[in-house]
Amino acid sequence: MSKTINIARYNPEQDSQPQLQAFQVDSDHSTSVLDALLQVQQQDPSLGFRWSCRMAICGSCGVMVNGIPKLGCKTFLRDYPDEVTVSALAHFVVEKDLIVDMQPFLAHLSAVKPYLINDQQNAEPHRQTPAQLAKYQQFANCINCGLCYSACPQFGLNPEFLGPAAITLAQRYNLDSRDQGKAARMPELNSKNGVWGCTFVGFCSEVCPKKVDPAAAINQGKVASAGDFIISMFKP
């Protein structure tokens, strides 16, 4: 079955803004949006987009499908009986066609020190009980695809906002029993561009392909930051 797919094209050497271009693709029950883009690239090799694993784990094929952030490989044309419009991830600078500059996202991720911080020089492994693992496990499933940033109006309004994935990752390490880095992470979270930039719109959690629930992580982070605020009042 042939299907029309509209793609927002942008050529940085000529265009002032993205323009929709329609393509015809063969579509059956198993055709994903990524499959369709690969077909289009056969017709027009100048189409630019990112992809890698085809199985929703690398997180590189994020695009807007009919205005909603989606992984191209996890979204199927069969679910769009009418038209499908694919454009670059919202709130990011478009380099070309469907390729965006992820640098601001990566900078926000690294700002929260997303790694275990532990001074103990110990050859022994850090043991962790299933209950200790359960505290942060859901928040550890993030694949850094950036869909939550495209779903977040607060990030769109204020690019300095650390955003859903970064704050979730901070929370993931703060809740890890092996970690001692909470004090180093809290200043970023306590700022107006940290957890307090969020108004619990909640769309980030709706679009997350891994069901991480970043909105819950951020708002649990608000409770933690409020606690940190109270503690700071009693410190000299």
């Binding site: 309004l157 107006k192 940290g194 605020f229």
Partner: protein, 124 residues
């Protein structure tokens, strides 16, 4: 890349967020009953003018539980919901790209504080 040395400034948002949350609980738990009992059921005639008479309401508000009943009512139906509303309007203005800066912050929380004090003065 520029290395940021100074940690970012701590936000005072925990204060407003705590008031917003407390007000949100009141708005959800106490306000529906208050609207029913003071506006809708009297209009339907279920609650009569006699039971809302001047001496009865004055006594409930100013005297019962040593005046604490009136304080609890004003706190949970007027003051805290006002701060809840101020918070949502302040952030809503930011969402609509109409404000969200210091001016709207002062205006929103400032008027919530002034009206709260006025309400507390009226039951004192």
């Amino acid at each position: 890349m520029i290395q940021k040395n100074a940690p970012p400034k701590r936000s005072d948002e925990p204060v407003w967020w705590a008031l917003f949350s407390a007000g949100g609980v009141c708005f959800a738990v106490v306000v529906p009953g208050a609207i029913l009992a003071l506006a809708l059921l009297p209009a339907l005639g279920v609650i009569t003018a006699d039971s809302l008479s001047y001496p009865r309401i004055s006594e409930l508000l100013y005297q019962s539980l040593w005046g604490l009943a009136g304080l609890a009512f004003v706190g949970s139906v007027i003051c805290l919901p006002l701060f809840h509303a101020a918070h949502r309007i302040h952030h809503g203005l930011h969402d609509l790209q109409l404000g969200g800066g210091l001016l709207s912050k002062v205006l929103c929380y400032g008027s919530a504080a002034v009206i709260s004090l006025l309400a507390l003065y009226l039951i004192s």
